[in-house]
């Protein structure tokens, strides 16, 4: 068990600056998730921690030790790969035992550790098989087993669930979470799936174009995104954005665009004050929109026309046009509606987000 510290980490591939000034402390026993679109530098960062990529500048510490120049074998880490990377010519037992054999453990110890890991993962009956005789989920378990038999200081996961089908992925996600609670080993987990990030992470790092956008607990990211990218990336369906103008009338702040006119909630008024007369981006999550009722103050409501109705069973996603733009609203499954019907939607005033139009930073 150990903490992992990244200090001013940079990575250059010839002319490409893949990872930019990453500063991060992953606490002991923490489950840290790196999330972002492909090419954002999350996997590169993970591979630098693993020692599979050289660091262009900066320091990486595992525990108290600077590991910049240590080969992967001396970093006391274990990694699970997206394609499992099981050794195809070895049985499941030998796959799991390989790391221990390389480290010259006694035979009895190896056997005991593999048995225990197999027991935890429920793969005892597979120990004699070859990887090609296993299903995707079983292979993933073996890959996990290979990591946990070593009792490493840090687990590294590189999109381990991406190759599984949707149902199995959810199941393995739960098991991973349980496994982490049971073992308590520090873990760094890379994924492009924000649902995985939200459900698994103690904290989540959102990356884009090599920059860290925001680090925080899942709900922090959801409730208070630091910028427009994080706001749009976290949450499903994605947040609605609209470019609006901030207007001041009779001492009150309003945001306006064609088809949309909402009063700025008091909690945002101070921040938006300096932007009066200028454009900003407003962000409203689909789940923070509802069909306007009598209790909704008119200042939070606007007109919308139904374009597409997506029935999900537990809720309905309405694609609506608001003026020239479009929005998605997640509404009650009991709603009866037709295409092209005109609706009045209300936005939750406590859950509106505003972003600077140029810097895209939250206001």
């Amino acid at each position: 068990m150990a903490q992992v510290v990244l200090k001013e980490i940079n990575k250059f591939y010839e002319s490409v600056h893949a990872v930019k000034d990453v500063n991060l402390t992953i606490r002991d026993k923490e489950f840290m998730v790196f999330v972002g679109p492909s090419g954002c530098g999350k996997t590169t960062t993970l591979r630098m921690v693993a020692g599979l990529e050289a660091i262009s500048s900066g320091n990486i510490l595992i525990g108290e030790q600077i590991v910049n120049d240590l080969p992967p074998m001396d970093r006391d880490i274990a990694m699970v790969f997206q394609n499992y990377a099981l050794y195809p010519h070895m049985s499941v037992f030998d796959n799991m035992a390989f790391g221990l054999k390389m480290r010259k453990f006694a035979k009895a110890e190896i056997k005991q550790r593999v048995q225990k890991a197999a027991d935890i993962l429920g793969i005892e009956q597979l120990l004699g098989r070859k990887p090609r005789q296993l299903s995707g989920g079983q292979r993933q378990r073996v890959a996990l087993g290979r990591a946990i038999v070593r009792h490493p200081q840090v687990f590294l996961f590189d999109e381990p669930l991406s190759n599984l089908d949707a149902k199995l992925r959810v199941q393995m996600r739960v098991e991973l979470k349980k496994l982490h609670e049971r073992l308590g080993t520090t873990a760094i987990y890379v994924t492009h799936d924000q649902v995985e990030a939200m459900t698994l992470g103690d904290r989540v790092v959102v990356m884009k174009d090599g920059w860290v956008q925001q680090v925080g607990q899942p709900l922090e990211l959801y409730n208070a995104p630091a910028n427009k990218f994080v706001a749009g990336f976290i949450g499903s369906p994605a947040m609605n954005f609209a470019v609006v103008e901030v207007k001041e009338s009779a001492g009150e702040l309003w945001v306006e665009s064609s088809g949309l006119r909402i009063k700025v909630p008091d909690r945002n008024a101070a921040g938006l004050g300096p932007h009066a007369g200028r454009q900003v981006t407003v962000g409203i999550r689909p789940e923070d929109l509802r069909i306007a009722g009598s209790e909704d103050p008119a200042v939070n409501c606007f007109d919308a026309v139904v374009e597409v109705v997506e029935q999900l069973g537990s809720e309905i996603l309405l694609d609506v046009s608001v003026g020239p733009g479009t929005m998605v609203a997640a509404v009650e499954p009991t709603l009866k509606t037709r295409l092209h019907e005109k609706l009045r939607l209300a936005a939750d005033p406590d859950r509106m987000h505003f972003f600077d139009i140029e810097s895209e930073i939250a206001i």
Partner: protein, 283 residues
């Protein structure tokens, strides 16, 4: 498979396939049938009444017996086997290491070097044997098996390297990375993980190299002179064609027996060999 009507299958698949096999196998049939025909039938003029070139009613083993009693065929077989195995072994070891280095180690000019090796493979043997014979002479290796064991790798190593390069590239990088995280050094990762996974590729490189050296003719013809040093292809041709007299029976029997080891090697490893060519590694 060709889809559709039965006539399409016949016209586009079965008949062409049949013709193809016929053309391909006919020389072997001719070789086999000639080996077992008595001389009387072999040298019968084409306009004789009982002329029948495609079949014999009096099969005989005299040509085979002649081959083993009157010529040094067993010595040639032994020489060929020894030389082919030794040069294949040398080439495989070098090819595996070079292929691994060129495909996995990111050093400067790796790509250039790979292309360079391939280009050396393209230089025809008919040109290379002239400078090589000079070298062989200088090292006094002429008329010894070493002259071939050491020169065959000049075309086998580029070939094996190129083939292994492709095969190593098809093996997921993660396998090796995982091994290195698991505690293996680069050397151990290669030895315990990459090489075992690459066995089909190594086998097909080996089979090819073995066949190439087994059948090699020019170097063997140039570098070997005494009958007891010769290999099968050279021995059969030089000892059974005297002047303008062709001893067709023993000649064909020698060719037939000479091709059996290669056929055996192929049939033993055919499955590995095919998967080696298609480069299938499942993680």
């Amino acid at each position: 498979m060709i889809e559709g009507a039965i006539w399409r299958r016949w016209v586009f698949f079965r008949i062409p396939l049949f013709l193809f096999i016929l053309v391909l196998l006919f020389p072997f049939y001719w070789m086999a049938i000639t080996s077992f025909r008595p001389d009387g039938e072999l040298y019968r003029p084409w306009n004789a009444i009982n002329y029948n070139p495609f079949w014999t009613w009096k099969p005989t083993l005299v040509h085979v017996q002649y081959l083993f009693r009157e010529t040094m065929f067993t010595t040639w077989l032994w020489n060929t086997m020894l030389i082919a195995l030794a040069s294949t072994a040398i080439s495989l070891v070098c090819g595996v290491f070079a292929g691994y280095a060129l495909s996995r180690l990111n050093f400067r000019f790796a790509g250039l070097l790979g292309t360079g090796i391939f280009i050396t493979y393209l230089v025809p043997q008919t040109l290379l044997f002239i400078p090589l014979s000079e070298i062989i002479r200088n090292y006094r290796l002429g008329d010894t098996p070493w002259s071939l064991i050491l020169t065959y790798p000049t075309f086998l190593i580029p070939f094996c390297t190129w083939l292994m390069m492709g095969y190593f590239k098809a093996i997921p990088r993660e396998l090796e990375e995982c091994a290195r995280i698991d505690g293996a050094s680069r050397w151990q990762a290669m030895l315990y993980i990459i090489v075992p996974v690459a066995v089909p590729g190594i086998l097909s490189a080996g089979i090819f190299a073995f066949t190439l050296s087994w059948n090699e003719f020019i170097y063997a013809l140039v570098f070997l002179s005494s009958p007891e040093q010769k290999t099968v292809p050279v021995g059969v041709v030089s000892e059974l064609i005297r002047g303008d007299v062709f001893f067709w029976g023993p000649l064909m029997a020698g060719a037939l027996l000479g091709s059996i080891p290669v056929a055996l090697v192929y049939s033993f490893f055919v499955e590995h060999y095919v998967s080696g060519l298609t480069g299938s590694v499942k993680g």
